[in-house]
Symmetry: C2
Subunit: 502 residues, 2 copies
């Protein structure tokens, strides 16, 4: 029992500022306060008298006297040849002076400003349960991530003291060069590595754009069905959101034109390559019209192009980004390595017009200074070695296969219930629930979680959080067998719901 | 020459949306646009005709025809048995359609909001030069960082797919537990691991506090000499800064009381353990008075306690943080691993009253979602193994020695010119330049950089950016020999300045 806990390896700090009377009693009081406040845990071993004496600048005998006093009071136990320990049954409730666990005793309310977020706009915790098949999003299959190569590259990178230090807030030059090469070769987007800003995932890129661009009261257009955390950053910056409908050809640019007639729009946030959540692609004629509209507007509209899963395009040619045709410097291009590599690395990037890029860089430096140079250098090495290019090809092939598996399984099991929206790429399928089941979409999905599969429902994507008869079903993070099993569970959830709930 | 550049490893995306006439000409046009726009570099090898044909969904002969056309036009060169390359002398200027390097051709100004930053508040790039001895700050000596242990711990951590995924935005539970243990044992601060938020260095903790707490127009008190990037985050949140003087006992709490009489103060940002930049410690009686003042104020004042280098205290006992005596929940405690381990890891933490902690967490999730779980787990392992505790002890010993070396060298070389402010800890010494040299502090420091040593000058710390007769001289990042050499160079810079500039 005793000694099972490791020795305290941190020097013990004793607060003597309250002490009165003899020093040994003051020390005893401080130690019992520490035990009461939970800073010293039951059965924890105390420092030796000699070492605590040296630390507190008192004679060893003073500490011995303090320990004896506390043993007498029942706070401590002395075990011959083992040391002095906090008594197993010492009180640990947070009473008395000096206690300061997370809940203050007499808290004064702070009256914080309201963040004014809408439904869905607080990032939900991921539902994790053993055996639950997660088909609710666009996370890649992390079981296939090149972790051995990553660990090797990190080991090399972390050896250089410069990779542990303050560095270039735009991101490691090697990573910027690798990303610029990828953008030029794989996406037809020519950027100078100096015009590219490495960020903490695309979310932080969007936050930087919002903070640099939006004044309170500015109108920002967003896709009527879209990515709630993106909407949230514009709201936090004080924007009024203007929802624009999306159809089979992507954002309805005519509707945007009508909204613009109602008043200036500072920025449009959109996902043109694979619309989130429906995965449709913005048509070429709408792209041209959008660029014209942005440049004609006064003040001009900034187009924030979130190209979150460009690499996963399975039919026909990938479409070149809007940013590739931006003579007026109105497009901010945002991308991420979360889909290609792993979201945990928190690596994204932005290519912005120079004026905006400079403001974003200043805000970046002041909000978290820079990224982790060792991680950035390690990922750069994976690009330089061709490791990530090979990984991208492998994953594209795997995800194309999984997409086919999911399409087949949905047709076989739920062809009479779900209509799948045609799309050329992405990491999920967008489906519409037919009547009479449409009205029960949420209940169906809830039952499906009980049976071991999670899909996203339409409610997660609209501005008002109202239920919508859609499932978004991810296929990237589950194996073909898991996908087939997941669809069977989804079917079973419907059967149960059919018999029990109607 | 040819083939020296690596093969393009990314699939090439060709934009055919502009194409007119025969497909092979459209492809040729798209390729020459790509070369003109810099997306394909001189001497770069093109994909084989068969593979590009497959990618674009055309017949192989169409690509051969397009390549032939471009060879005829001089854009490409075909080398038998080697492949087809962009001509070495192909134009790369950014003319014509489709070009979009960082500088737009006909940029429309965006009229961005002003960030309203003061002098010194845009983070300066670090001055790096071979042979320059950096004694200008509080960076640890990264040559001594435990990188082998870190690489090993990362290799173990990155193998778990959960460490590559979305996780707990508060930070990895193991890291929060390790930090809570450290705070309890080494700093006398009892916190629940759940009340602790891991951040991207202390800078992002301060940014989160400012965003959660400050409304435009709120007054925020700051130390009159202080840390400019901290001031900047409060300004970005719209605060009006109220400078409070600092003397040998730290922040002048009486002066703060007078400022409070002029109107409400939302928050006080301070560095009580080792004041930045002067390294003095806030006295116990002022701490008590400050806590009383904060609770009495209406609305209450939030105290933002930045304890950036707690571990490096050399004389007497470390003082327990303000946060340890916070019955009203008015203190936000901010710390960092930048000094203990390395700034490049971007790991800090905050312990805030629950209401404020919840708002900070929401903003964190929306601004960059979370930290890197693999890095957080790896650092947690270093704590669990006792590696960081041993490192802390080693570094404290090394820095105490370096501090003595610097004190001795300054007394020997510059005892007649610089007065050193007494202090009990920190990673730098604060000195005052005596007359008649006081007025030439900036010129002296500039000359010192030319001679190979950089110290920080008083100008970097005040709100108005005015020159002040102080040097802040860091001792942690330089070895004893470097410190002695650095001081000699500083002396030499004065000699040169004495003879040439006066």
């Amino acid at each position: 029992m005793k000694g099972a806990r490791p020795l305290s390896r941190w020097q013990l700090t004793v607060d003597l500022t309250d002490g009165e009377g003899p020093v040994y009693l003051a020390i005893a009081q401080a130690l019992s306060d520490a035990i009461r406040a939970g800073r010293l845990a039951p059965e924890e071993r105390l420092p030796g008298a000699r070492s605590l004496a040296a630390e507190l600048g008192v004679h060893r005998n003073t500490i011995v006297a303090a320990y004896d006093e506390l043993v007498a009071q029942g706070w401590l136990e002395a075990l011959p040849a083992r040391g002095t320990f906090v008594a197993a049954r010492a009180p640990t409730v947070l009473e008395g002076r000096g206690g300061s666990r997370s809940t203050p005793r007499r808290a004064i309310p702070l009256a914080l400003p309201d963040l004014s977020l809408g439904p869905n706009e607080r990032e939900p915790g991921p539902v994790r349960r053993r055996g639950l098949i997660a088909m609710d999003g666009g996370t890649p299959d992390l079981r296939l991530a090149p972790t051995t190569a990553m660990a090797r590259a990190y080991r090399r990178a972390v050896r250089s003291p410069e990779h542990l230090a303050y560095g270039d807030a735009r991101g490691h030059p090697r990573l910027r060069a690798a990303l610029a090469t990828m953008l030029a070769q794989a996406r037809g987007l020519a950027v100078d590595a100096n015009g590219l800003l490495v960020t903490r995932g695309s979310q932080s890129a969007l936050d930087l754009v919002a903070r640099a661009l939006v004044r309170p009261g500015d109108r920002v257009a967003v896709e009527a069905l879209g990515y709630a955390p993106a909407r949230a950053v514009f709201r936090m910056a004080g924007a009024t959101l203007v929802p624009i409908p999306v159809d089979a050809h992507g954002l309805d640019v005519e509707a945007l034109g009508r909204a613009l007639a109602d008043g200036p729009i500072r920025a449009v946030y959109l996902t043109p390559h694979h619309h989130y959540p429906t995965t449709v692609t913005l048509s070429p004629w709408r792209r041209e019209e959008l660029l014209r509209l942005a440049a004609r507007a006064r003040p001009p509209m900034v187009l924030i192009e979130d190209d979150y899963d460009h690499e996963f395009h399975y039919r026909g040619r990938p479409i070149v980004p809007l940013k590739a045709r931006d003579p007026h410097g109105l497009v901010v291009y945002v991308g991420t390595l979360s889909k290609l590599l792993a979201p945990g690395l928190r690596l994204g990037y932005a290519v912005a017009p120079p004026e905006l890029a400079a403001a974003m860089l200043t805000i970046r430096e002041l909000s978290d200074r820079q990224g982790d140079p060792a991680i950035e250098a390690a990922v750069a090495e994976l690009f330089e070695d061709g490791e990530l290019q090979r990984h991208a090809r492998r994953m594209k092939k795997a995800y194309a296969e999984r997409r086919d598996v999911l399409l087949t399984a949905l047709a076989d099991e739920l062809g009479d219930v779900l209509d799948v929206t045609p799309s050329a790429g992405g990491m999920a399928l967008w489906t519409t629930v037919r009547s009479p089941w449409a009205a029960h979409t949420e209940a169906w999905a809830a039952r499906a979680v009980e049976l071991g599969v999670r899909v996203a429902t339409g409610r997660e994507f609209g501005l008002d959080g109202a239920p919508l008869p859609h499932f978004r079903i991810g296929f990237a993070m589950a194996s073909p067998d898991e996908l087939r099993l997941g669809v069977k569970r989804l079917r079973r959830a419907l059967a149960y719901f059919d018999t029990h709930r109607r």
